[in-house]
Symmetry: C2
Subunit: 213 residues, 2 copies
C-alpha cells in the first residue's frame, strides 16, 4: 500500500521522503500523515529492490530556479551564499531525492491492478486516485468489484438494522454505516456511468448488469 502510494507519487516527479509525506497528506485526502517510521524504511526497501533510485542532488536549487552563476569575485560569492541563506530555494540538509525506475514502473502497475480486499476502503481510494494509470478495462473492473463489495456489505448492515435489540446508540451507529454505504454505492454507480459514457465505443463487451426497474 505505502509502496504503491510512493511509486504513484514518483510517477512524473522526483521527490525526497519528506516531500512525499507532504504530498500524501495534502494532495490526496487519503493518508493524513504517514509516519516517517514507515516511510523511510519503505523508500530504503524500494531502493534496494531497484524500484527507485536516489539521485545524488547534483545541485542545490529546486527545479524551478536555476542556481545563480558564480561571479568569481570573493564578495560576489559571499553575496550568493547569503542569498542562498535568504531565499528558500536551497536545501536545508542533505536530502535524498528519489526517481522511479522502469522496474519500479512495472511494480507500480502490478500493485495498482491488485485486488483491494473488501473492507479495504483506503486501498480502493488510493487505486482510484491513481486510476489514470490504469487501462479503461482495469479501471472499470476496479469500480465494479468495489461496487459489488459495497452492495454486499450494505445488505449485511441492513440485516443488522432489523435487530430490535439494538439500543438507541448502537442503532444510530449502524444507521450511519448504512447511509455511508448508500452514498458510496451511488458514487461508484455514477463513476461507472461516467466511465462508460466517456468512451462509447470500446472493445469491452461485458454485459452491464442493470436490473430492469
Amino acid at each position: 500500500m505505502l509502496d504503491m502510494a510512493i511509486l504513484g507519487l514518483l510517477q512524473g516527479q522526483e521527490l525526497h521522503g519528506y516531500e512525499i509525506r507532504r504530498q500524501l497528506r495534502d494532495r490526496f485526502g487519503i493518508w493524513a500523515n504517514v509516519s516517517f517510521g514507515s516511510l523511510y524504511p519503505a523508500l530504503a526497501r524500494l531502493e534496494r529492490t531497484g524500484a527507485v533510485e536516489a539521485i545524488t542532488t547534483p545541485n542545490t536549487a529546486t527545479p524551478s530556479s536555476p542556481p545563480p552563476p558564480p561571479t568569481g569575485s570573493l564578495s560576489g560569492e559571499w553575496a550568493v551564499f547569503r542569498a542562498r541563506r535568504r531565499d528558500h530555494t536551497h536545501r536545508r540538509r542533505s536530502r535524498k531525492v528519489y526517481r522511479i525506475t522502469e522496474e519500479g514502473g512495472r511494480l507500480f502497475a502490478t500493485l495498482l491492478e491488485e485486488d483491494p480486499g473488501p473492507d479495504d476502503a483506503r486501498g480502493f481510494a488510493l487505486r482510484w486516485a491513481f486510476a489514470r494509470h490504469l487501462s479503461p478495462r482495469a479501471r472499470r473492473s476496479l469500480l465494479v468489484r468495489r461496487h459489488d463489495q459495497l452492495v454486499t456489505r450494505m445488505s449485511e448492515v441492513r440485516g443488522a438494522l432489523a435487530d430490535p435489540e439494538l439500543d438507541r446508540y448502537a442503532r444510530s451507529a449502524v444507521e450511519h454505516a448504512a447511509e455511508t454505504l448508500e452514498h458510496d454505492v451511488g458514487w461508484t454507480e455514477r463513476l461507472l456511468e461516467a466511465e462508460d459514457g466517456s468512451h462509447t465505443i470500446h472493445e469491452d463487451r461485458e454485459v452491464r448488469s442493470k436490473e430492469p426497474t
Copy 2:
C-alpha cells in the same frame, strides 16, 4: 479495540467466541468478520488478566430454555441425553462460554473513555455503538472530539481540492472524501443536538460554541 468490542458485547450476556464473532458481524455493522486468529487469543488474554471468566458450561441449554431437571432414573437420563442430540439447544462441541467480571467492567469503562485518535473511524464507531455505557458528559465529549477532528480533516481535504494539478480521477477521489466528511460532520452535529435536547438541564456548563449565522 478488539478487547473493548468483546467486553462490550459481554455486558449483559454470556457468550462464547464463535458467537462473539457473529454478533460483531451482524449486530454492529462495524467489523465484518474478525478473524479467529485475533479473537481467541484476545479472549485467552482477557481471561488471564481476569477481565472475563470462562463458565464451564454447567448445562447444555441455551439461556431461553432452562435445563430439564435430572430424573434420577437411568433411562430418564438417557432420554435427556438423546433429547439433547435431537433438538438444537445443545452444543455441538465443547464451547467456552465467557462472562465479564467486575474487573472486566472497569476495564471496559476505561477503554471506552479512551480517546480514539483522529483517523480512527472504527474506534469512534465502536465507542458510539456502546455509548449507552458512557456518562452523558463523556458521550458528549466523545462527539465533540470526533466533530473537531472531522472539521480539521475537512479543511485539509478542501485544501487538497484547490490543487489544480489533480487529474480527473485523483480529483474525484478527493471530492468524494470531502463529501463523506461533510456527511459525517452533519451527522455528529445532529447527534450533538439530540444529546443536548434529551437532557436540557444538566450540570455540564461548557459553552457550546455555535457560530452566529
